[in-house]
Symmetry: C2
Subunit: 480 residues, 2 copies
Amino acid sequence: MNPLLIHTLRQAVGPAHVLTPDDPDTDLVAWEQDWRRRARGRALAVVRPASTAEVAAVVKACAAANVSIVPQGGNTGLVVGSVPDDSGTQVVLSLTRMQAIRALDGDNLTITVEAGCVLQTVQEAADRAGFLFPLSLAAEGSCTLGGNLATNAGGTQVVRYGNARELCLGLEVVTAQGEVWHGLSGLRKDNTGYDLRDLFIGSEGTLGIITAATMKLYPRPAAQLTAWAAVPNLEAAVALLGLAHGHLGAGLTGFEVMGRFALGLVARHMPQLRVPFIDQADIPYGVLLENSDSESEAHARAQFERLLETAFEQGLVSDAVVAENLQQAHGLWHIRESIPLAQAEEGLNIKHDISLPVSRIPAFCADTDALLAREIPGVRLVNFGHLGDGNLHYNVQAPAEGDPKAFLAEHETRVNHLVFDQVLQFGGSISAEHGIGSLKAATLPHYKDPVALALMRTLKQALDPHNLLNPGRVLSAPPP
Amino acid sequence: MNPLLIHTLRQAVGPAHVLTPDDPDTDLVAWEQDWRRRARGRALAVVRPASTAEVAAVVKACAAANVSIVPQGGNTGLVVGSVPDDSGTQVVLSLTRMQAIRALDGDNLTITVEAGCVLQTVQEAADRAGFLFPLSLAAEGSCTLGGNLATNAGGTQVVRYGNARELCLGLEVVTAQGEVWHGLSGLRKDNTGYDLRDLFIGSEGTLGIITAATMKLYPRPAAQLTAWAAVPNLEAAVALLGLAHGHLGAGLTGFEVMGRFALGLVARHMPQLRVPFIDQADIPYGVLLENSDSESEAHARAQFERLLETAFEQGLVSDAVVAENLQQAHGLWHIRESIPLAQAEEGLNIKHDISLPVSRIPAFCADTDALLAREIPGVRLVNFGHLGDGNLHYNVQAPAEGDPKAFLAEHETRVNHLVFDQVLQFGGSISAEHGIGSLKAATLPHYKDPVALALMRTLKQALDPHNLLNPGRVLSAPPP
C-alpha cells in the first residue's frame, strides 16, 4: 500500500483527490479500465492534481518512492496506454482537474489550454471567439487535449490541418524528475535549439507529462459543404483525391473512402440511415468530400460542382450528391461515423489502424484482400478510412457462418501478422493515429527500423532513466 | 595532420573527394569561411561523400579517430554553424555531392531528395511535375535541402506552408555512431513511437547528419497575386493580417511588413526601384500581401479587392496597389528583398532575427524603439519582416553621423542585450529562423528556459556522447 507515499500525495493535492482501492466508497473502474474494455488494471492510487505545481509534486513524490506513474486524460485511448497494469503498484495521475483555458489570443491565432480540458470544450471556446480549432475526432466529448497531444491524435480534418502535432506551438511539461519546462510559446518560428515539443508529443506519457499547450487557431470558414461520390475503384478514388487537391486547394478539409461491405453493414444495422447509392450493386466505393470555403456557400458549391463535373468526365465518379444543407451534410458524415458501430453490431472483428503512401493504397488493398481471402477463407473486409491522409481502418470481420469468438481466437494473431507484413512491404505504418500503448508494444520491434528503435530506447533512458513514466508503453521491456 | 584518418577517409570516398589544406592546388576557403564572412576556420580535411553509405563510413572513421565533424550543405547559414573552428582539427563533411532526386510521387504529393540537392533544384523538379514545393528563401540558388532541414529554414511562405519542419515527412539520418536510420517515410500519419524526425530537424548537425528527406508537395496554385498596402501603424498591420486570414483563408501565402526607414534606404540606394507611396511622408509602414488562388486570377483579384475595400473602410489601409501582372508582382517582392542590400549600402548595422506573438508586436516595437532611442541616441531602426509569422528583422543601423565601425564596437553587445531582454519580456525568441550556430551559442543560455536547456544537454549527451558532431554549435561547452 505504501502509506508514506499516499500520505505525501494527500499533502500534495489534498486528501479528497487521492483515491485508493481500499476506500469502500470509491470505485476506480473509470481510471483502471480502458475505453474498449480490453484490460482492467489495478492502481496503487488515483491522484488528481489541480495545477502544474501539484503535478510536479506528485512526480517528485513517486520518483522518491520509486513508484511508476500512468498519466491519464479522458482515458479514451484505443491501445491500452492510459490504465495501470495489474500489479497494483502504479499511480494513475489523472489530469482532468486541470481544465482551464488559460488564454485566447485572436491576433496571434492561438489558444492556451490545460491538459485536462475536454477537446470539445476547446472547440467551443474557439468558436465563441469566432475561430476554428480544427482537431476533431469521435471521442471529442470525452477525450482531453493533453491526451490528444500525448497520442498525437488524428481525426477527420488531417488532410487540411494535420494531426495534433501540427496544431501545437508550445507545451508546458513536467519531466520525469518533476521539473517544469515552461515552453508555452505562441510562436510560429523559433529556432533556438532542439525541438522538445515534438519529442513529448506522441510519446504517450513515457517521456514527460504534458500539463498545458498553446494551440493554433484558424479563421472559421464562411461555408462548409459535403459531397458523396460513387467511385468505381480505389485507383479512381486516389485520382479523385488529386483532382480535389488541385480544384479546392486548402479548401479540401475531408476525404474519406468507404468500401461497399462497410457501407452495407451500416445499411443493414441502421436502416434509418440512408446510405447513398447502396441499392446500386455495381458501386464498390463511396467517397465523402468536405469543402471549407473562406468566401461563401455559393462559391463552395460552384467549386464542388466544377470538381465533380471534371471527375465525371474523367470517369472517376459514376454518381454524386452534394448536401443541400447542414442537416444533410451531418447525415452523410453520420453514415461514415456509424461504420464502427455497425461493425460491432455485425459481430466480432479485428481492427487495424494503418497508413500507407496514398499512391500505394490501391495495390496494397488488391494484394492484401487477395492474400487474406486465400489464407483465411470466408473472411470479410471492412475497409474504410481517411484516404486523404493515407490512413485506412482495414478491419477484418469474422465469416458470416461459424462462431466469431472461435474465429478470433484462432486467427487474430495470424491476421495481424499478414496485414502488418503487407504494411511493411508497402512502406506503411502499423499505427497511423492510435499509437502503440501496451497493446502494440511487443509487436512494434518487429516492424520498426532497428536504428529508430535503438534511438527511442536511448531517448527513454536519457529522459526517464528510472523508467517511472508509463513503463512498458510504447517500448516494451528491453531484452535482458 | 592525422595521416591514418586521411588514408581511411580517402578509401571511404575516393582520393579525389578528400581535400586537405596541404595540397597547394586546393583553396578550402569555400568550406572554411561562413556566408557573411564573419569567421574563417581551418579544416583538417574537407570530405565529400557521394552516398549515405559513404557518409556512414566517414562518421565511423572520424569517431574511431576521435575527430569531430562539421556537416555542411550550401554553407549559406547566417550564424556561423557550418564552418570548422580555427583549430585545424575538424573534418568538414560536405553533402553537396549527394544531390539526387530519388523519387517524386504525385499521387502521394511527396518528393524524396538527397541532402545536398540545391533548394531551387527541388522547386524546379516539383514545378516540372506540376506541383509546388513551397519552401522559398533568399539563398535558394545555393542552399541545400539538407541545410534547410538542419536549420529548420523559414522564408517567405511560412504563413501558409510552415517552416522546413512542417514540410518534411521523413528523413534518412546517419547517427553519431555511423548507423543509418532509414526513416524516409512518405506518411502523413505514423504514431509508432517517438518523433525522431523533428529531433534531427533544426538540430544544426549536432545530433545526426541528414542525408535525405521526403518532403510534402502541394498543388500549384492557379494564380498568385501580390498587393502593396500603406498602413498607418503596426496595430493596423496586425488587424489587416487578421482580416486577410479571414478573407483569403489558406490563400494568404505572404504577409510582409516594412518600416518607412527600411523602405527609404531602398529608395535612396536603389533609385531604379519604385517603392510605392514613398513620397507620401505620412505612411509609416508598407505591407506586402500575396494571395495564391486554386481557382483563377480573376477570382484572386476579386478576393483581394474585397479584402482591401474592407480594410479601407475600417481605416486599416490608406492606399494600396494590386500588381497587374507577374512582372509587377516580382517588382514589389524585389523591393522587399532588397532591404538587406540597401542596409549594407547605408553602412554597418546590427541584425536581429526575432519572433514574437503577432499580437504583441506593436507594443514590443513601441517599447523597444523608445528604449533604444533613449539609451543610444541617434540610432536608426530598420524594421521589417514576416509579420504573418511574427518574425521581425529588427535591425539597428549606426547613426548617420560618426564612425559606424566605432559605433558597432562600442554598442553592439549592449544593443543585443537590450533587444533580447525585450524579446524575452514579450514572450519571443532570439532566433526565429536563422538558428544558433556558434554565433549565438554563448548567448542562448541567458534567454532559454533552464529546464529546456538542461533537456537539450541531456539529449546531446545521449545521442552524441563523445561530442563529435558539430561541437560547440547550438550548445556551448558546458560549464566546467
